[in-house]
Amino acid sequence: MALDLRVPRLRSAAILVLKRNIKVWRKLIGPALLMNFGEPTFYLLGLGFGLGAYIGQMSDMPYLTFLASGIIASSAMNTASFEGMYSVFTRMDQQGTYDAMLAAPLDCDDIIAGEMLWCATKSLISGVAIVVVAGLLGAIGGWQLLWLIPVLFLVGLCFAGPAIVMSALSPSYDFFTYYFTLVITPMFILCGVFYPTDTLPQALQSFTQILPLTHAVALVRPLAAGGEPGGVVLHLAVLAAYALVGFYLAVVLVRRRLIR
């Protein structure tokens, strides 16, 4: 059957979907926040102090600061990816939540826009949790941290789109393992979360330039460490491009799955 390729429209109805998700999240706020704060605390304490003791400085900053800024970015990636796959798939396939929404005056454009806003909101929450933990540990600080709010939201949008594309294509939960193993984990390892990418072989370095996490780290790290990011336009453009293309493909593929 022909795909419905029409450009999605952004309408205020997307907010209704976002609000529904926030309402569910608020019911489970305790465990949710515990996750958001607990995991990075162990990361920073364990790796930051443990490894930091050997490494000392990296890229002219304490290793704890270097690591914390990397984890802020990668956590935004992970959060949006998880939400866009497991949670979206649950609502789309298992619970029939989208079927119910589609029986109301919402369409796939509204639903996916709302889900992307929600994924980005969760990314922001998880990133801010790490900022708080790292701040308390004295690893980061300063007013420029406020810039992380829009940046982390954009990072969330950037990873939400591709994750929802996976959901729309997936026959079952098992499918997501491929995406995590082949896409998310390599980015986590290669894109400068744990070490600067300029130590990688040249070919690999060029490859990391097309990966969005590289650009997320390039923005987040200087902002966290108290500096000023360079090449801002390029980094924002790459993240925005992934977000927009991801949104478009996600809407087209969810339409194909649900409106048939």
Binding site: L16, K19, V24, M101, A103, P105
Partner: protein, 308 residues
């Protein structure tokens, strides 16, 4: 053609590949009617409803709801429609009352209005005591009742019910039937699909019997029964040792049309009573004498073989 058509379909067709799942179907549903789609599994009932709601692109034909084209106006149409889907899709993360409240927000209903409306709906579904319970803790019948009133949250003009009572016990079915009748009294238009002939007979002013995507016949339950089957049926069930030729002879004498399903013989006639004394004399037979109904029409039109 009357002017007050709520739904109007002309040559409505849905194909998946070469497979015509709904095949050149025409119908018109009027304000205040309870209209039924009746058909065996896979007849195309749900697909027809999905097309009406704009959830399924139409392959051919025209379809308007409230005079608006579904192809271009699906969302503004759905603002005025309530839907109970074939499989429940309640939100498991919310309580009963929250399910109604959140669903109401999708229609842009103001919180103050919802606060007034939700208790009314809970009463209508007899679910007041369960307001703060999650769907997981509800029985199948309660879930269905919740799905039913959730579809009324926007005070819809048209209510679409896809097999609303399948799998429910008789009490819940009767409750829902009563509610459906109340809604039609209030001037709502109802479109329902069902396998239960009794349900169609009790509720529908008009119905379509469909199979393999085609309309086999249409009319009121009474008119359909009159048109397709004799007034009475004598069901004779074999409990061992039935003589086939004896039954055939007997029904020929009484001028019956004889049908066989499994170990039961159906003798259709306008006066089946005359056979009773002879059947009664055979102790290995049980029998049931009843007026014919929509079920007989349905079986006659769609055939007696099993579907898969």
């Amino acid at each position: 053609m009357r002017g007050d058509a709520v739904i109007s379909a002309r040559g409505l067709t849905k194909r998946y590949g070469a497979d015509s799942v709904v095949d050149r179907v025409d119908f018109e549903i009027h304000r205040g009617q309870c209209f039924g789609f009746l058909g065996p599994n896979g007849a195309g009932k749900t697909t027809t409803l999905r097309m009406i709601l704009g959830h399924c692109p139409i392959t051919e034909g025209t379809l308007t709801v409230f005079g608006q084209s579904v192809a271009s106006q699906a969302k503004s149409i759905r603002q005025r429609v309530g839907v109970v889907a074939q499989t429940d899709n309640l939100d498991p993360d919310f309580t009963v009352a929250e399910n109604l409240a959140v669903y109401g927000t999708f229609f842009g209903i103001e919180p103050a209005q919802l606060e007034k409306r939700i208790p009314e709906l809970l009463d209508f579904a007899d679910l007041r005591a369960k307001a703060n319970v999650k769907p997981d803790a509800l029985s199948g019948g309660m879930k269905r009742r919740l799905a039913f009133v959730r579809a009324l949250i926007n005070d819809p003009e048209l209510i679409v019910l896809d097999e609303p009572t399948t799998g429910l016990d008789p009490q819940v079915r009767h409750l829902l039937w009563g509610r459906v009748r109340e809604l039609t009294r209030r001037g709502k238009t109802i479109l329902l699909t069902t396998h239960y002939l009794e349900e169609a007979e009790r509720l529908c002013d008009e119905l379509i019997i469909m199979d393999h995507g085609r309309i086999l016949d249409r009319g009121s339950p009474r008119a359909l029964t009159r048109r397709h089957v004799e007034a009475e049926v004598l069901e004779i069930t074999d409990c061992g040792g039935l003589d086939e030729s004896w039954v055939a002879q007997l029904s020929a004498q009484a001028g019956c049309r004889l049908e066989r399903v499994g170990d039961t013989r159906y003798c259709y006639s306008n006066d089946a009573r005359s056979m009773i004394p002879q059947v009664e004399s055979h102790r290995q037979l049980t029998y049931l004498h009843r007026p014919s109904n929509l079920e007989d029409v349905f079986l006659r039109l769609t055939g007696r073989e099993l579907r898969n």
